[in-house]
Amino acid sequence: MTTFLQNCFAGLALGSTYALVALGFVVIYKSTGVINFAQGGLLALGAYLGYTFANNLAIAFGVAIPLACASAALVGAGFERIVLRRMVGQPPFAVIMITIGLLFVLEPLITAIWGFDNLQVTNPWNIQTVEAGGIVFGVRDLWTIGLTAAVVVAFFLFFRFTSLGLAMRATAFDPEAALAQGISARRVYAVSWAIASALAALAGITMAAGPGGLSPSIGFIALAAFPAMILGGLDSPAGAVLGGIVIGLAEALTRGYQDQLFSWAGDNVSIIVPYLLMIVILLIRPYGLLGTKDVRRI
């Protein structure tokens, strides 16, 4: 029982990270109809910027996080402004390939600047743990979960109560009608990219602050967040959070019970669990758990 709960906690922490990244996907997809494959690159960029602020410039960690998020947001908005804006109205193939192209440019840039070495981020949490009821909680994991919860709440409040949030919902619902009402679609698109990049950066920093440290492969987690987004539904923020947690739990539980239950499936089977789950969900509910049914069948 303790092992199970311990694994569940690990899954929850991992799932929070997935949720943050998936939320970023959904924000961009909802308002612009683009799935941003470059999210992983933005995540890594945010993490490395956080490292630079906290370690090289010796800025307090609490300040370094928002700074890194803001810088990543600028880069994301810049992508939208310089590249993606030219692609409005192009077929999905072209737009997807553009974002993949951006990812493939961003990753080598990051390794060129920061190198391939594993870096240790100084952070206030270190590897401290708290023990309660026989379960060991990593303080960093608790912070990740707490930060995610706070961000998710802020996210929903933003869309519910601010005029910019309302404008973004309107644009997502019907861009032309929104334009006719005087909403600046340009601003909405730029803000969507900025928000998504900031979310990715936050996910990146919380991951980098962990015991694993910071290495170029950190962006890989964003690819595993795709299944989370599909599971929840492409256009549902609540689904992204739910999907993230489900995928995180599934992955952590598989890893925890690998030796006993999944030894037949080969080493590191937990890495592909998100994709297997995704394929199952696509066969049963192609639009995800909470997504809008708009996948046409012919």
């Binding site: 193939f93 089977v269 046409r296």
Partner: protein
């Protein structure tokens, strides 16, 4: 009736000719001459190997272009099928010792079966969804290749000892009229002959009924269904043919390289193929070959001249700031972005513009 000017096309049959105009006939003759003579002029092993890799890439790219360019289906999973082809060759051509035509067909067959298994997903999913599923396929494949030790040799890889002889003609050890040729020369002829064969096959597929059906499905699948095209059937069919060709490319790749490991079938390979068809031109066979020559040869060239290019790190601890691998990746990414934004029709589009300019000359404006 007087003989028309050569540019006039008077009926559909003329419009559909493969090599109609005198210019394209001349071009074809030029290509065949280059194909026959090139290996005897360029005898350097490095340059021949670059051309061979480009040829293998061209085969796979033509397959991907059929799927993406003609049928409009996104696939990031091309690397999976290429890997499958290589392993089938290691098994069928190497361990079972089957002759060349048989293992090539076996690889194509397995590729078609695998494509047929993935195909049904393309019916329910489109655009973004399909991209993500095929992305998952790369990771599932990588897991399989690392764990199916008997077939793939696990992480340490497996050697591929398939021979490339058709009857008495062994391409790895060619002797014509008493003149013997090196392995790379033989392979050049073999690979580029196959490029020609596959190109002809797909070109014919594209200009006949199924090809027009594919393009109808690409442009608007629901409308295609309404006018009587069985869109679902064509989508699965395109997937099967495309993955069969990809597996053939993988089979050639494995057999030429004689050794393969799971690290090779990653997302970067898929993206490289996509870069090839985007740079070359979506929906054109000629473009796939152009793209393969341009993009497919890049990694080998960068690897060879890495010590000349400033800032490139050739070994660990070198002063350069970017590794050969990272530079390749960045170039693929940059090419994709630049071509999609600035020249969506690719090199084939540029070529077409040049051609039209000279056709209209001196009345160009």
């Amino acid at each position: 009736m007087p003989k028309p000017h050569r540019n006039v096309v008077r009926d559909y049959a003329q419009d559909l000719r493969l090599f109609g105009s005198p210019m394209s006939k001349f071009g074809l003759a030029l290509m065949i001459a280059a194909f026959l003579v090139l290996p005897t002029v360029v005898q350097d092993d490095f340059w021949l190997s670059v051309l061979i890799y480009a040829g293998i890439t061209a085969v796979g790219a033509i397959g991907l272009n059929l799927l993406t360019g003609y049928c409009g289906q996104i696939s990031l999973g091309h690397a999976f099928f290429i890997g499958a082809g290589a392993y089938v060759t290691a098994k069928v051509g190497g361990d079972f010792g089957m002759p060349f035509p048989l293992w090539l067909l076996a690889a194509a067959g397995i590729g078609a079966v695998l494509g047929g298994l993935i195909g049904p997903f393309t019916l329910r999913l489109r655009g973004h969804y399909l991209a993500i599923v095929t992305l998952g396929l790369v990771f599932l494949g990588e897991h399989l290749w690392r764990n199916l030790d008997d077939l793939t040799g696990g992480n340490s890889g497996t050697s591929v000892n398939a021979d490339v002889a058709i009857g008495p003609v062994d391409f790895a050890d060619l002797t014509i009229f008493g003149e013997s040729y090196s392995r790379n020369q033989g392979w050049f002829w073999l690979v580029w002959a196959l490029v020609g064969l596959v190109a002809l096959l797909v070109k014919n597929l594209a200009r006949t009924r199924p090809g027009r059906a594919l393009q109808a499905v690409r442009d608007r699948d629901q409308a295609a269904e309404v006018i009587g095209v069985r869109a679902g059937r064509y989508k699965i069919g395109a997937f099967m043919v495309s993955s069969a060709i990809a597996s053939m490319a993988g089979a050639l790749f494995g057999s030429y390289q004689q050794f393969v490991s799971p690290d090779e079938w990653n997302l970067l390979l898929s993206i490289q193929y996509i870069a090839v068809i985007i740079v070359g031109g979506l929906g054109t066979i000629f473009g796939s070959v152009l793209g393969a020559l341009f993009v497919g040869a890049l990694p080998a060239l960068i690897d060879r001249y890495s010590d000349v290019i400033p800032g490139v790190q050739t070994s660990v601890g070198d002063s350069g700031f970017i590794s050969v691998f990272a530079l390749n990746q960045a170039i693929f990414g940059l090419l994709i972005v630049l071509f999609l934004v600035l020249e969506p029709r690719g090199l084939a589009g540029i070529w077409l513009r040049i051609k039209t300019y000279f056709k209209a000359w001196p009345f160009s404006y």
